[in-house]
Symmetry: C2
Subunit: 613 residues, 2 copies
């Protein structure tokens, strides 16, 4: 197990994963950038180079890094932001008691303020756009773009010229990702790099149909349970296992302070749903929400460094009654807040009417839009109904508005959808939203398995990822039932990592299969340690193996408990291989097997191979 | 938790699932048959009838049944078998020490013999076929067929005439399943009813593309671990959670006695891989296998009542070297045993050369063929290769031979297959094997998640089930790592139940969505108990809920821990519903929402509903 860093009151998990070390690759256009990756060393008997793996875990898994959560992570993007010269520091908004859910005076937030909060946040000079899409459209390749290119390219160089396999449903996945390719994808809005200028600690990553499929993990406190220590560790924990992004869905008290701790220590982009905090500020009464309160919340969170906002601007007054005859009505929390507001005031959604003003805020900090699907279906019965698609069409309209303002945009999607209705969701989103990245929750392919909805949704997630979905929002085993704990977060993340990887394989991402092949070779050679270390969850793989065969010797033994020591199918396969090799397989294949095989001669081959290592 | 029956040395889990009771539906053509189903009662506030659920668990979940494992289950099919008058009792084969893996005299098996083993098994008179397909082809509807029809029809009557939804890829799923439809599907070989005349305890079930997707759970001891008590309880445990079939993959000692205990107490069909026991009889040396030993093993197991045999007759000598260049060679245990035999003797697979003699045995007891895929891919790299498809073509040829002999047949499939290569497996199997039922292991859609292969394979299983696969062989979290324990078996079964159900939904099975809708209505109404009781795993759903909100009151509270008591999206949706109802939604929908919505009037509706019950 990893060490626990106990230098401060808030312990987080640190230490490299088994058999792994952190490496850094320098840029070419920008030699000072150092792209972090994980490298898994294999046993000498493998005679294979180490396997490089896309790494979301940041410095926490770098044994050479010193972690101090009270100081936060290094601001790796700060020099790049300053060098662009289009931003300025200014006195940030004063933190108000209600930012932490405190009303009526004296009471202090239970969560201490992050030490050294920056009082002078960055903002664009003179209302210009300091977004990655603005630079991309001007033909500028940013360090963020080269970072992403190097990160996405892991393993591709060695496969140059190899024939590719897969069905990409019209995606345009390159053999090799150049910084220019990243720029062009950002420029046309087909990918985003969530990168608030006030979150320089984050390592750049891309969300787009032509890049590796990404996953998001949600964390957050709640009115009923949870604590700050749990929340920050949940972020570290989720990224340790592979979360590309983390959304902080906190509600109730201490939201502002909790968010600051998470942002200053997060190596991945952080998203939020600002309407949640805005609702807290008006005492939880949806009718009392106003554009002013919401706008103030956007500024508050943009200054802190939130990288993307879920904004339910597509929940239009006219669509709300379309949900009346649903089995599960409106299940999106943000969607229902806005539906309540619209009905109470008989007014159009204020996020829709003020959308251009929102764009002006987003572009000044490079906060990406995650246009929320407030009317997503909450059951199989409600999938793909008029309410859902009416909102999607509005999100397509708003995408064009956001792009006009040089804002980065992704689109949120369902929800609960049976398998035969998933493809049309992807196709319709691509058509309606101009190929802006799609970001879906699951979808869950049946309603009948509460307690296993990481799996019912993992099925839908793998499929829609294959069809073109750019990011998959994880679902934990506690979905519909309660708040996920540490183990639930891990299970949710691993489930979505395997779903995203299954999608990358099916899409034919050039190097996706390298890790499968390396692990399968290790499996066939009985290199147990390599098999564990190459897996998504080495600890669980090792523990499951040891439950049946705890002996250390078993890890180098040429059998497993499925067949036992006396007989093993993989050992016999080795005989077949040796045998066929002796017979010059190539010739036989050419000449036709059936005839030649009659001529075989027995070789009483020893079926027990010497143990490895 | 359910009670533990401790009347005998071998305890098994009994008792109804929460909120459920066993009911029985009488036949029409055969009034004496009583088809067992589970009925879940809902809270009075639901104002809904009980929900009927397909039930694989047999008398163990019937609180009115008395369970005595030493006596075995009632032989419900015995009168039907006797009434046909085409079978005769005869002195069965003598049990030999080597049947239990005992060699060289005195040693007794550790597992006691089942009390009252029947010394006079049934067999067809005069070598005729006593198979369900033989009857079906003669136009005879058997009690087994009517039993299946009633069982498959749950919920369909109430949906008569409803427009169906789904994509069935050319399947021919009827709105209503008649006994004649079952007969016709059996007659053309498109479905099977595994029903050995010596396993009269089993409740008839169908495996076929036009019936509900079924799942199989594997159990078995091994050379390294496990015990008889665990194995029999595993069968009871697996069927409790929904296993439609169970395969006993035991190896090593006590195989014969263990199998007898399982068969006499199993309410579901039992399958085996006879080559495993045959190998034990020759001391584990594949080269020493012979047709005589294998034939003797088929008789031994057919007399005990095994319902289907996995027979790897498609592993032809000519195909073996085709696996030489694979990443993971031959991973099927049966396949590698036969490959070893073929290479050692330079002879064609004796299961292939003696196939017609095997058919004569199968038809005399109505043991169904499960033609094994001994060359299935064991890694993503090996998927859909020449070796795999060459064997599949041979299985298609053998299917015709088996049908010629009036034998029931299904075909086994992979294995490890990336998502984009799954569909062609199904299409090719349907074409090659004349629509004989396909029975696949997963397939696993990536190799990199050992410890989570119930999920990597659940994704592939749901997809191939949708495409037309008739039965899905489960994979547990321990796959590739060790032997599944009780919890692993449950997780594997539940994962495959949800995958099979997701497939039924996508195929458009008429009544599949009834359970989803009932559960979703319960979720929307905050009928927590109903939500738990309608789920695949009520215990886990309840436990997860209670981890966050243990108070009994919370189970009738109108909120959950995700949002807390102050705010809940589903409560707001209720406002929307009430509101829209007041405004006469229908009219508005007709007249067009956008215009009308501007006319809405606020009703400050109370958003807290009275607690249920």
């Amino acid at each position: 197990m990893a060490d626990i860093n106990s230098r401060i009151e808030m312990p987080v998990t640190t230490g490299a994963l088994p058999g792994s070390r952190k490496i850094h690759i320098a840029g070419t256009l920008f030699p000072d950038i150092r792209v972090a990756m994980r490298e898994v060393a294999l046993e000498p008997s493998a005679k294979e180079p180490p396997v490089r793996i896309y790494d979301t875990s940041g410095p926490y898994t770098d044994d050479t890094a010193s972690i101090d959560i009270a100081a936060g992570l290094p601001a790796l993007r700060m020099p790049w932001i300053e060098a662009r010269g289009d931003c300025e520091r200014y006195p940030g908004r004063e933190v108000k008691p209600e930012d932490n859910g405190i009303f009526g005076g004296l009471k202090q937030p239970e969560v201490q303020q992050f030490p050294n909060v920056n009082p002078m946040p960055w903002r664009a000079k003179g209302g210009q756009a300091v977004t990655q899409i603005a630079y991309a459209r001007r033909g500028i390749i940013t360090p963020e773009m080269e970072y992403v290119a190097i990160r996405e390219n892991i393993g591709r160089a060695q496969l140059a010229g190899q024939i590719r396999d897969g069905e990409d449903f019209g995606a345009e996945i390159p053999d090799y990702v150049t910084p220019e390719f990243v720029r062009s994808e950002i420029a046309r809005g087909r990918a985003i790099i969530p990168a608030n200028i006030n979150h320089p600690e984050a390592e750049p990553m891309a969300i787009g149909r032509n890049f590796l499929v990404k996953i998001n993990a949600n964390i957050g406190n709640s009115a009923v349970a949870s604590s700050i220590a749990e929340e920050v560790e949940k972020m570290v924990w989720a990224t340790r296992w592979g979360a590309d992004n983390v959304m902080d869905l906190s509600t109730g008290r201490n939201i502002h302070n909790t968010r600051e701790w998470i942002l200053r220590n997060s190596p991945v982009p952080i998203g939020t749903v600002p309407i949640y905090q805005a609702l807290e500020k008006v005492g939880g009464i949806a009718e009392d929400l106003s554009w002013e309160v919401y706008r103030d919340t956007l500024i508050e969170q943009a200054e802190q460094g939130v990288d993307y906002f879920t904004i339910h601007a597509g929940v239009r007054l006219a669509y709300v009654p379309l949900t009346a005859n649903r089995v599960t009505g409106i299940v999106s929390r943000g969607g229902s807040i806005l539906a309540k507001w619209c009905l109470s005031h008989h007014k159009e959604n204020f996020l829709y009417t003020h959308f251009e003003e929102i764009c002006e805020i987003m572009r000044a900090y490079d906060v990406s839009f995650s246009l929320g699907d407030g009317l997503r279906p909450g059951s199989i019965a409600d999938a793909n109904d008029r309410a859902q698609f009416a909102e999607l069409e509005t999100l397509g309209e708003l995408t064009q508005v956001a792009w006009k303002h040089d804002c980065q945009v992704m689109i949120e999607g369902p929800g609960h959808v049976p398998m035969h209705k998933i493809k049309v969701n992807m196709t319709k989103q691509l058509e309606t939203c101009g190929e802006a990245p799609f970001y879906t929750l699951g979808p869950l392919t049946t309603d009948i398995a509460p307690g296993y909805d990481h799996i019912t949704s993992g099925i839908g997630a793998a499929m829609i990822g294959w069809f073109g979905c750019a990011m998959l929002c994880y679902v934990t085993p506690k979905e519909h039932l309660g708040l996920p704990d540490r183990d639930d977060v891990k299970v949710g993340v691993i489930t979505y990592k395997l779903a995203a990887h299954a999608a990358d394989l099916a899409k034919g991402h050039p190097a996706a299969q390298l890790r499968d092949d390396a692990l399968s070779r290790a499996r066939f050679d009985f290199r147990w340690r390599d098999q564990f270390n190459l897996s998504l969850d080495p600890e669980t793989a090792l523990n499951f193996h040891d439950e049946t065969l705890p002996a250390e010797g078993a890890k180098v033994a040429h059998f497993c408990s499925m067949c036992g020591p006396k007989f093993c199918s993989m050992k016999i396969t080795q005989d077949v291989r040796d045998y066929a090799a002796k017979q010059n397989t190539e010739t036989m294949l050419a000449a036709g097997m059936a005839e030649k095989s009659a001529e075989f001669r027995a070789k009483g081959g020893e079926i027990y191979l010497p143990a490895v290592g």
